[in-house]
Subunit: 218 residues, 6 copies
Amino acid sequence: MFLHDKKPLHTVKVDGPNPKFAAMLQEQLGGANGELKAAMQYMSQSFRIKDPEIKDMMLDIAAEELSHMEMVSMLITQLNGGELQANQATVGEVQTHVLTGLAPGLINASGHPWTADYVNVTGDLVADLLSDIAAEMRAKVVYEYLYRQIDDKGVRETIDFLLNREEAHNQLFRKALGKIAQTGSSRDFGVTEDSKLYFNLSTPGGQAFDLSHIHPPH
Amino acid sequence: MFLHDKKPLHTVKVDGPNPKFAAMLQEQLGGANGELKAAMQYMSQSFRIKDPEIKDMMLDIAAEELSHMEMVSMLITQLNGGELQANQATVGEVQTHVLTGLAPGLINASGHPWTADYVNVTGDLVADLLSDIAAEMRAKVVYEYLYRQIDDKGVRETIDFLLNREEAHNQLFRKALGKIAQTGSSRDFGVTEDSKLYFNLSTPGGQAFDLSHIHPPH
Amino acid sequence: MFLHDKKPLHTVKVDGPNPKFAAMLQEQLGGANGELKAAMQYMSQSFRIKDPEIKDMMLDIAAEELSHMEMVSMLITQLNGGELQANQATVGEVQTHVLTGLAPGLINASGHPWTADYVNVTGDLVADLLSDIAAEMRAKVVYEYLYRQIDDKGVRETIDFLLNREEAHNQLFRKALGKIAQTGSSRDFGVTEDSKLYFNLSTPGGQAFDLSHIHPPH
Amino acid sequence: MFLHDKKPLHTVKVDGPNPKFAAMLQEQLGGANGELKAAMQYMSQSFRIKDPEIKDMMLDIAAEELSHMEMVSMLITQLNGGELQANQATVGEVQTHVLTGLAPGLINASGHPWTADYVNVTGDLVADLLSDIAAEMRAKVVYEYLYRQIDDKGVRETIDFLLNREEAHNQLFRKALGKIAQTGSSRDFGVTEDSKLYFNLSTPGGQAFDLSHIHPPH
Amino acid sequence: MFLHDKKPLHTVKVDGPNPKFAAMLQEQLGGANGELKAAMQYMSQSFRIKDPEIKDMMLDIAAEELSHMEMVSMLITQLNGGELQANQATVGEVQTHVLTGLAPGLINASGHPWTADYVNVTGDLVADLLSDIAAEMRAKVVYEYLYRQIDDKGVRETIDFLLNREEAHNQLFRKALGKIAQTGSSRDFGVTEDSKLYFNLSTPGGQAFDLSHIHPPH
Amino acid sequence: MFLHDKKPLHTVKVDGPNPKFAAMLQEQLGGANGELKAAMQYMSQSFRIKDPEIKDMMLDIAAEELSHMEMVSMLITQLNGGELQANQATVGEVQTHVLTGLAPGLINASGHPWTADYVNVTGDLVADLLSDIAAEMRAKVVYEYLYRQIDDKGVRETIDFLLNREEAHNQLFRKALGKIAQTGSSRDFGVTEDSKLYFNLSTPGGQAFDLSHIHPPH
């Protein structure tokens, strides 16, 4: 069961309105590497996990990502200020000013709606943890890109907090992967000599391809 | 901030595996009127609400919908059983058997991924509460359709619980609407005589249209 | 059968070109609460309705929404002017200047294509009429947001007309709902005590949750 | 302005219920080459056309496609019968039985929702008419595929009618193309020797590629 | 089998960075008429073609379109320069500056991700070749729109090359269509008198419709 | 530049038609972890990579994934046989039998079209290589799921080959990651104490949450 506490996980307070950066921050609310994606991926993966410790960790992190989602939404709400002004909001999506009445939508920085196509679930714990480690790294990179493009100290403080939490999750997923590394997809499955070939399918410009080694006689 | 409690909101226990019904139930996990949609709609709407009581109610219900989402996922997981068997899973989506390893995906009964296009947020509280009332009614109807097509007593008991909760939310949203009915979009905005016309744009087959009343001379 | 009359439902004449506002207006052509959505929702709902009066009303309004779609397209076409100038079109979508040759596309203000995911059809007349009432209210709110951000008198006159028509449809749907309020999903369906509980799943920050009432012994 | 006549364009009467074929027919309601796509493509293209005859033809055909959409919806409604029975509806989409209450949804045969990504509009009349000719041919092919897989005489009669109408539209579009063939994209635009080369980028298996003619010295 | 040669098909060198035009050019990388769409359409169509000459041509052109995709990506990469600067990138999509680290994404000019809904495959060679001819014409029109809005000589030279190649493909598809024109969907399929009617479903404003010829007595 | 060789990378020959398994195999052609996704991800990532060895490897593997895509398409084409028979194709998508004329479409096993939302590109080489390692692992898992559900020896031989190639790519990506592990996102970026906390946001059922450590006084 999920519960909500009225206090946010971490205080959010921007220096002042900045609708353009609000649009850019939508990427971490409703984008491919954003907080909703993270929450949904870990929650979805948790449902068939049998290891109680890892299952619990997945749901802990999912709850935290929902709390991050709340924090990013607070950032966006504060940055949007109180005026509809599409003419001044010239970066990326504009639905904020014509559709949602300045409320944060579940869209990315260009206005593309969040989709479950972002979520990776395979039911194989090794594959799923690797997907989570990669997802946290991508989320961290996006926060870095956003951090570099804003001077507002309040925004920077919040991004800094969120970015460090992604790093913390990354370490937890890596530790879990270490624990179960010898199960699931990491076991050999019909590994043959085919997995050891390197197919050089490119060639320096203008030279002839020698394809004879690729098509052995049958 | 969101928190997770290891116990579910309500016990979930199916009589036995039923992969076909598992596929059908996906509609209420990742479909247009499902639990994820409900949770995301109320959470998204809450962020700019100033009335503290209504804001709190929105987040209470959002947390409960996330808990419902967990319950529906448990139902699906139990119904899917333990065997990949796409050949037997002839109703609707088949990703469960080739992609997610029997874990519940964020897709609807036909395999269409969840999208934020399902979520209605306008920043106008009257419009948003009306959207919520309609959403709860649709969710209830879908649960009725599912209930009629399953005999499993455990499944029926859970659907019955969920369906009644939608009704309870509906009543809460209606009460909130009553409280604020004279604000936001319910105020008159440039209402003129145009809002009182009925345009009869259809006609009994074979008769002539009299369009003269629609095109007044300018 | 649908028919087309060469005259528009209402004259459309903008004061002058305004490509930025053209992009914003796309929201009501191809967006979540736009005219195409309205037309498709009422048309789709009509097909299984048995009450001849309500079925007829649905198709009347669907035909009018298609006519509104034509009017919004005329507005956009006039506002786009005659020059491809993506460099000046800095608000929202840019396909108008690189893909459609200034023709209005079925996209929203940020360039997201229209999708049938916007359309709510359940086959239950109460649920469908509630969805329609909520849809008309949202459409009205979006027109208000657009109205506030434009000075062009011709555009304002057309938006004013369209907004009032949404209000008129709203009243028709409410009247129809009154007529059939005791059918369909409004009948009690297994309503138990569960529908009367209020689950308080939030708490003032820092306090302890008392969850004992949520998990009764089984 | 669009109008609706209560009589359908052509009588629709199936021999009996057939939910599987209803699902297959969804392809021509909400699929990539279906009637909604056709109606929206011609309507969208019409808005910037200056030639009054061609503009009128576009809107005539758009209105007819909307009327076809109504006919296909009637077919589906009759074929779905009166019982929710997802367990028997083992072909393609299943939303009909869990979401729409047997009403025809704007989805294709597998349940994918209609999207404006299907619609081709460029604002260049030659390109648009070529797109329309290709679209009509594809629509005809899909009707042929459906015709071959059904014995119901009522269904066959309706498909036969619709298929012949696509052929008729095809001829109209070809005639219009003949009329304006020397305008728009058909004019030479920077045509150089590059447009006359044939790049042979494939080779019989195992042979060497001679790429020297592709990379001339600069 | 596909192979990659390190040299591009044609040298790409822009005069200088231009992030706004980079965003506009995304339309031909990940948009509805872009290079990825072309490559995927011809590759997908080729798989069931029996005519060896046409199958070979399809795969030749598919390989060339992949090479064009590489060229457009090089253009975008050079135009994006080396600085994240969402505040200066005010035209269309902004994911380039917050998500992809200036790498070209598979999105269109407004940030909508590429989708296979753009791809037309029917398995009928006449319909498929007509789709290809129309697709090449649309691609050419989009390149013309882009060409008109850029002064950079390096960009213009590349667009000029690509545009001419579309024209060359167009001629190849037309020639193939001539070769097989009497097969597949071009054969008469149940053509009746219905295909020869013209339904005039529009009327000059204010006049009465005479529908009597449309509803013959049954 | 890409080139096409008429011979496939590896011979493909199924024992006999099996339309149901053809639908299941669509997952690896047009699904979230399929061959098109892999090809597009590596190609897109390659464009801004400066390390010539890694760039070359990315494009080698992209070319091989396109060749795998060709092999999977051949499998599907052979499995679909020569008859449209939607009534017998009761697993997953049905567009094959009503839309594509038995040609393999760029859709997944349930008929959802391929989308670039599957592709992960961040411009940060560490994040991108981690995404690739996770992607290869997921692809391998899906091939295992498919392998287990088919007896056809020809199909099994091809899947076995493809699965082993994913493993080979995985090793290449891991080696590349080892080479550049100290660049890009792996460098410390504002790592503070926040990255070392573990937030325990879950609790055993029925116990009270102690939130005092989460909300330190400010």
